[in-house]
């Protein structure tokens, strides 16, 4: 009985603290939400105190989508290499490397992007620099997810297809990818959610605070919700600005949660239909 109390006592803060944090953000941020706040893209006055966040919201989504589009072919290629050609030793090395890449602090990626993409390649602070660096941040997660999805394709499907004389590429295209795509798509959605959550990698590489509503090309800077909150939070003394920051936080939280929830629903559906699925 004592053990149970100790365990519950240890578990409660882990549940209550994030819950309280979420409740506080909603409490502070929900009053800021309005039609004009969500769907206006004007720059406003007073260091963002009166501006809408449509440009920032679309900028965040654009950057995350660009990152996922850039990362997906390479992630899928790496996962297929791992599954098809890598020896046990290479698989171990690759898994270790991916786990190591996952643990690199995002600010280090940001610094790398600033030096290599912004300065060395002279892409400048731009959508392209930000998307590439975000793609690098989410790549290990996408690769590991794709590997897991491919490994869940039943071996007998591969053998049945091979028995019918299907070429290796046809087995990959018509069996592996067809069977694994819901899992891979779930990973993509989680990848978008992760990209939307990252601030540090794009802080030096993609975003500026003012003067940008919508990027004119891939070499133009972009405004994002994450960095918008970051800049607004620095204006801690201005209550109106802080209110906008809380509102932006609620919107960002909602978008990230939306993608994560969609991924979760798809994953559950995938689990259910993997053995009972229809065309």
């Amino acid at each position: 009985m004592l053990n149970k109390f100790i365990i519950v006592g240890l578990a409660l803060p882990a549940l209550l603290l994030p819950g309280a944090c979420l409740a506080y953000i909603l409490f502070k941020g929900l009053p800021a939400l309005s039609w004009s706040f969500l769907f206006s893209a004007t720059e406003g006055t007073g260091f963002g105190a009166t501006s809408g966040i449509l440009a920032q919201l679309l900028g965040s989504l654009l950057l995350a989508l660009a990152a996922i589009l850039l990362a997906t072919p390479f992630a899928l290629g790496t996962a297929l290499y791992y599954r098809l050609y890598a020896s046990k030793r290479q698989q171990g090395l690759l898994a270790g490397l991916l786990n190591m890449l996952q643990s690199i602090p995002p600010i280090v990626f940001g610094l790398f992007g600033l030096i290599v993409f912004v300065h060395l390649l002279q892409w400048g602070v731009s959508l392209l620099s930000g998307a590439v660096i975000l793609a690098m941040v989410i790549m290990p997660m996408l690769v590991l997810n794709s590997i897991a999805s491919l490994e869940r394709v039943p071996e007998q499907y591969t053998e049945a297809a091979q028995s019918l004389g299907l070429h290796h590429s046809a087995v990959i295209g018509r069996v592996w990818l067809v069977q694994a795509w819901p899992g891979i798509l779930t990973g993509q959605l989680l990848g978008i959610a992760r990209a939307l959550s990252e601030t540090a990698p794009i802080l030096f590489t993609a975003t500026v605070f003012s003067g940008v509503v919508w990027p004119e090309s891939i070499f133009s800077p972009v405004t994002t919700l994450q960095t918008h909150i970051f800049y607004l939070a620095q204006e801690g003394s201005n209550q109106q600005v802080i209110q906008v920051a809380w509102g932006s936080a609620v919107v960002l939280l909602g978008v990230v949660a939306g993608f994560a929830l969609l991924a979760r629903c798809l994953s559950n559906r995938y689990e259910k239909t993997q053995r009972l699925g229809v065309e």
Partner: protein
């Protein structure tokens, strides 16, 4: 180029000079350091059933996988219609299109019945325009009457017996020259068993069929030739009646009398 059948006589010959569809000579296979096939010699005529019997672990299924090219690191010779499989035009994939393999456990893809039937058909357009082929092979597999009204339903809604017949239809759709069946009726109900046996007999009128079974009664019912394997070796090959009535080898007699054979 279609190779001409050749006339062969060997230690396990068919007993008379007739065209040979499959000839296996001195086939050895080592898996994980163990010799699982040891000097296999069998041959199959252009049509008819050959049942492969023997205790578990005798290497029957492994032999099928060698013939189908799922195992490729064997030594010896496998010839199909007189052509060495190692030099098969188009490689192993094309060889597998010539050798249909039905696994013990039916494996249908989580797609429609129709999509499963045409899964091995090459070309997207050919698969779309294969209505005639779908009906033809489903009839050959004795499944048409049961599924003709629901070809777009999920194949996984079929019973196990129906799924196995669907696998036979799927293998027939690629027009194989040889059909290999690995215990196709294991764990099926008597009705499904009967339907599949009828289907196998009917198919064997036009192509060679090599069928692994543990069911000696089924081997009798299927007739044709019998190959008895034990411990990775072919012990005896004979026609069905003489094998069951007058087995020549002590190991065969022990196996048929349910004794533990000492091969």
């Amino acid at each position: 180029m279609v190779p001409q059948p050749k006339i062969i006589e060997s230690a396990f010959s068919l007993g008379q000079s007739e065209p040979v569809a499959l000839q296996v000579q001195g086939l050895n296979l080592v898996l994980a350091g163990t010799l699982v096939l040891d000097g296999i010699e069998i041959e199959l005529a252009q049509t008819g059933i050959t049942t492969l019997i023997g205790p578990s672990g005798a290497g029957k299924s492994t032999l099928l996988r060698c013939i189908n090219g799922l195992h490729q690191n064997w030594q010896g010779q496998i010839e199909l219609t007189g052509q060495d499989v190692h030099r098969w035009q188009g490689g192993w994939d094309q060889l597998r299109r010539h050798v249909g393999l039905i696994a013990q456990k039916p494996c249908v893809f989580p797609q429609s019945i129709r999509a499963n039937v045409v899964f091995g058909v090459q070309g997207w357009r050919q698969r779309r325009r294969a209505d005639g082929l779908v009906e033809e092979v489903l009839r050959q597999a004795a499944l048409w009457d049961e599924v003709s009204g629901r070809l777009m339903a999920s194949a996984e809604t079929l019973s196990l017996g129906q799924q196995q017949r669907l696998c036979i239809a799927r293998a027939l759709a690629i027009k194989p020259g040889l059909l290999l069946l690995d215990e196709p009726t294991a764990s099926l109900d008597p009705r499904s068993k009967q339907l599949i046996e009828q289907s196998i007999k009917s198919l064997a009128e036009s192509m060679p069929v090599l069928c692994v079974t543990h069911d000696l009664e089924q081997a009798r019912r299927l007739g044709g030739q019998v190959v008895f394997m034990c411990d990775g070796k072919v012990i005896e090959q004979a026609d069905c009646e003489s094998f069951f009535q007058r087995p020549q080898r002590l190991e065969s007699r022990e196996f048929l009398s349910w004794k533990v054979c000492e091969c």
